[in-house]
């Protein structure tokens, strides 16, 4: 994935980074999903959100994406509380494919960004090549395999030319080969300067990709550290237990 293709940048200079969570709490009825999260996501290597199922990783991603609002506290993007920005993109755990061909899925995202028709074809081709799906461009997207769909979802998210890319356990249901293909794309994306924020409960994956780690337990940030430090010398008992492979609930 050396020949990484970026969309042409058309931003007005306003950056979404850093993303600052300030005592952000999310509740659903009586249940507290995220509990006073204070966290800053800065430019740089990928930030990996790890923790057991139900620890709030997906909700934190949706909050950072601006898809949901904090019940208390707040989130700011580059100092702004206005969440309506086209510079964040997201890939879900299970890819949602439009009932169209692979290339049409990407052109849809490009069109939503106001890219002209001729330009759409050129960029869609480049993005499909980047994720290794060019030979399947005319295949209906829903007929692709799980791994191919996830790569297409990545290409579609990149078509939005994001500054920040949120990934919610994109390899949770993929085999090792497909996982590697997705990780290669994620790494190339990060190397090209896109801030990646990715949830994972796969420790090996977190070690392979993370610049820094946010360890969530029961909706709270139990530990936040550089990857090198977190995996060698975790500070909290929960993180030690999690890294040992104990069941952290």
């Amino acid at each position: 994935m050396a020949n990484f293709v970026r969309g042409e940048r058309m931003h007005g200079g306003m950056s979404d980074l850093p993303i600052a969570f300030e005592r952000a709490t999310v509740r659903a009825g009586a249940v507290t999903i995220l509990d006073e999260i204070t966290l800053t996501v800065s430019p740089g290597a990928p930030t990996l959100l790890i923790g057991p199922n139900g620890s709030g990783k997906s909700t934190l991603i949706k909050l950072g994406m601006g898809l949901i609002d904090a019940s208390e506290g707040r989130v700011t993007w580059g100092g702004r509380t206005n969440a309506a920005s086209p510079r964040r993109a997201m890939v879900f755990q299970r890819p949602i494919m439009l009932r169209r061909s692979a290339v049409a899925n990407i052109e849809y995202a490009l069109a939503s960004r106001g890219v002209s028709r001729g330009e759409q074809a050129r960029r869609a081709d480049a993005l499909l090549t980047q994720v290794g799906l060019r030979h399947l461009k005319d295949r209906p997207a829903r007929r692709l395999s799980g791994g191919e769909q996830q790569r297409l979802a990545l290409a579609r998210a990149l078509a939005c030319d994001p500054e920040v890319l949120f990934l919610d356990e994109p390899t949770a249901s993929l085999d090792p080969a497909s996982t590697k293909a997705v990780e290669d794309i994620v790494r190339a994306t990060a190397d090209a300067g896109v801030k990646v924020v990715m949830a994972s409960h796969d420790l090996g994956q977190a070690k392979r990709l993370a610049g820094d780690v946010v360890f969530l337990v029961r909706g709270r940030v139990a530990e936040q550290a550089r990857s090198a430090q977190f995996f060698v010398a975790p500070a909290t008992p929960e993180a030690k237990a999690f890294l040992r492979g104990d069941l952290v609930i």
Binding site: L67, P86, L98, R99, S112, P140, C160
Partner: protein, 230 residues
């Protein structure tokens, strides 16, 4: 089975009475479906995407109205369009226009209810992605209608099948006037009671063939959609 042979002869000899009746039936039912679609698709999309108080009630009523008795719809339209009715000034009772309006009302709940179900199912699937891509309300409707196009096509054909086969509304608001508002179904009813079985049977065969053809097209469209769009 001499009536059967005569019926086939009418069909294959290109009997002008028979084919003018078939032509009028197609014109009325296709126009009715087109009219119902213009109202029914947006209505279905609205019900699928917009939450408002009483929405469930509207959905239940709409689903129930899929089985409206044609004679009751015919009676309602008759009362609306009759000389002393609120729309009597239009003067279209006992014309093909009145039949189109009546059949459109009959078919509207079918098209709107099926479209709502189709679009709502697709929206459930697409919601997160379209929200993440920040597609606005108009873009959402356009995307859902486009991606559901093959399913919506079969909705239209279901509506057409209903319109072409019903006899109650066109009998009441059309009046079964020879050469003017006589359709396949009203002609079959009349010719049978008169004892002209060959014409009745000939029309019956054409009607059944049409319904089979429509269902064949519906099946083909669905298959094509699955292959093309997945």
């Amino acid at each position: 089975m001499s009536e059967g042979a005569s019926a086939l002869e009418l069909i294959f000899s290109g009997d002008s009475d028979l084919y003018s009746i078939v032509g009028l039936s197609l014109y009325v039912s296709l126009s009715a479906v087109a009219l119902a679609a213009v109202v029914g698709f947006p209505l279905g999309a609205f019900l699928a995407l917009v939450n408002f108080p009483g929405r469930s009630f509207v959905v239940v009523v709409l689903n129930a109205f899929m089985g409206l008795p044609p004679v009751v719809v015919g009676l309602a339209v008759f009362l609306l369009l009759s000389r002393s009715g609120p729309l009597g000034f239009l003067g279209i009772l006992f014309t093909p226009r009145a039949m189109i309006v009546a059949q459109a009302l009959l078919v509207l709940p079918i098209i709107a209810a099926l479209a709502r179900q189709t679009i709502e199912d697709l929206w459930t699937e697409y919601r997160d992605e379209l929200t993440a891509m920040r597609i606005g309300p108009a873009g959402r409707v356009a995307t859902l209608l486009y991606d559901a196009r093959f399913s919506l096509m079969t909705t239209l054909l279901a509506g057409f099948g209903r319109a072409a086969a019903e006899v109650g509304t066109v009998m009441i608001v059309g009046g079964n006037i020879d050469g003017f508002t006589r359709t396949m179904t009203t002609a079959i009813a009349l010719e049978t009671s008169k004892g002209d079985l060959p014409l009745a049977m000939g029309l019956g065969i054409v009607l059944i063939s049409l319904v089979i053809a429509v269902n064949g097209i519906a099946w083909g469209v669905r298959r094509y959609g699955e292959l093309r769009a997945g």
